[in-house]
Subunit: 147 residues, 4 copies
Amino acid sequence: MAKFIGIIGGSDAPEGILELAEQVGSLVATRGCVLVCGGLGGVMEAAAKGAKMAGGLTVGILPGSSRSDANPHIDIAIATNMGHARNAIIAHTCDALIAIGGRYGTLSEIGFGLALGKRVVSLESWDVDPGIVAAENPEDAVSKAIA
Amino acid sequence: MAKFIGIIGGSDAPEGILELAEQVGSLVATRGCVLVCGGLGGVMEAAAKGAKMAGGLTVGILPGSSRSDANPHIDIAIATNMGHARNAIIAHTCDALIAIGGRYGTLSEIGFGLALGKRVVSLESWDVDPGIVAAENPEDAVSKAIA
Amino acid sequence: MAKFIGIIGGSDAPEGILELAEQVGSLVATRGCVLVCGGLGGVMEAAAKGAKMAGGLTVGILPGSSRSDANPHIDIAIATNMGHARNAIIAHTCDALIAIGGRYGTLSEIGFGLALGKRVVSLESWDVDPGIVAAENPEDAVSKAIA
Amino acid sequence: MAKFIGIIGGSDAPEGILELAEQVGSLVATRGCVLVCGGLGGVMEAAAKGAKMAGGLTVGILPGSSRSDANPHIDIAIATNMGHARNAIIAHTCDALIAIGGRYGTLSEIGFGLALGKRVVSLESWDVDPGIVAAENPEDAVSKAIA
């Protein structure tokens, strides 16, 4: 069974972070993993775009009530209608998480991932606990997430 | 965007119901729709099996905390860890629902579908409201769900 | 520990149903039980009003994100931000449910209650399964819910 | 309407943290606020105990499916059956959060609180963002939470 890698980060992110996200998404797909994210814009969209351009499969766990909220690079959109609580679903359903940039929603996701014993990799994101695995670049991040 | 058709029914179902579910799953895939279900056994497994044999894509919205709970015919398993509340996610994320047999969980799902204004088709399932569309056989059920 | 009795029904209900709900709420409080409901208007508000006038305690499990959505007779408002999925929480947290009138949301709640093995009493509400206990009037409904 | 103050922290905590939690709970009640927590042991139980000894009202938003999971100082137990996702409900329903000690679950709760724009006070807990208000002692924590 393919691994599910969750990419977490903000819907509003600077250009450099978006480029990292797209590279991470591409590598996740190249490594044969399913990319899971929150389905919206910013880091989520860039990562999904990267994965699709590399021929991967993308899943978006949306906070709202409509699949049409998903960015155009999501293959399977899940409309949870649960707002931020959908972060818990992402943490449960993924084998590992890669945080790229991000703010408070990302922090909650990191907390869930760690609480559930999932591997949490940080790429220019929150570095607030020894349980978080720091990554130096997209390749390093994906390798550490899959390891 | 492909339509998402939710198949709902019990994890423990008689043989005749399972055969109907497999046929419905096959037709959902043949018609180019994504099959969504609760990801477990019984009607969910039979429908997913039918969809996979017809080359379709299957999504399982699981009640538990692990993707490994999914039946072997699920392509994308979502571990919600929310028990029965995951029925609300199925109702939100699907364009239409087809109930096949089923008992109380199915009834809650039908209630959600109707409350959200989704088309709800019943095939040998609950027939308790004029808002539920009765179907005579698998082909009729899928046609009415997609219409 | 006091029993938690869930009162379920529509936010838009005819006068006769609202009167029944207020009487049921009053009796729930008189019998020393905590009244739980969805926290909004209609049957939920009438039942909470009845319970408060009888000196009871009321809990509203709201679908939205703000406690201020609650009707004025709710003591403890819980803002779930989960829409209809909050019905599953009501079913889990109550010892018994009394449905009064109501439409599709009520039907989903009844399905959850039955699926969880909770006692479900119907007063001029859905009568679609032998597992639902029919009540003839408010006193009968509360007695059967508490029994 | 009374303010709802959420106390967050681990179910397993050292004695010094538990004493702080009990004092915080007592002050929350003395100031006329409702104490909300996750309903289990450790910091949640100590805070609820403090609130009850000061005559307050306590609400426990439980991760599991049964009200009987609540510690004995909880007046109103809500069984969500949603595991860690119940942290999002605590964040939505509270006016402010006070984190006392705690690990990863607490971190997810802090993330939610900040994401929702709620005041988040830290007492010997995560100090990872300028948006978190540091408190020096229980009195300081409650004053800053209520301010």
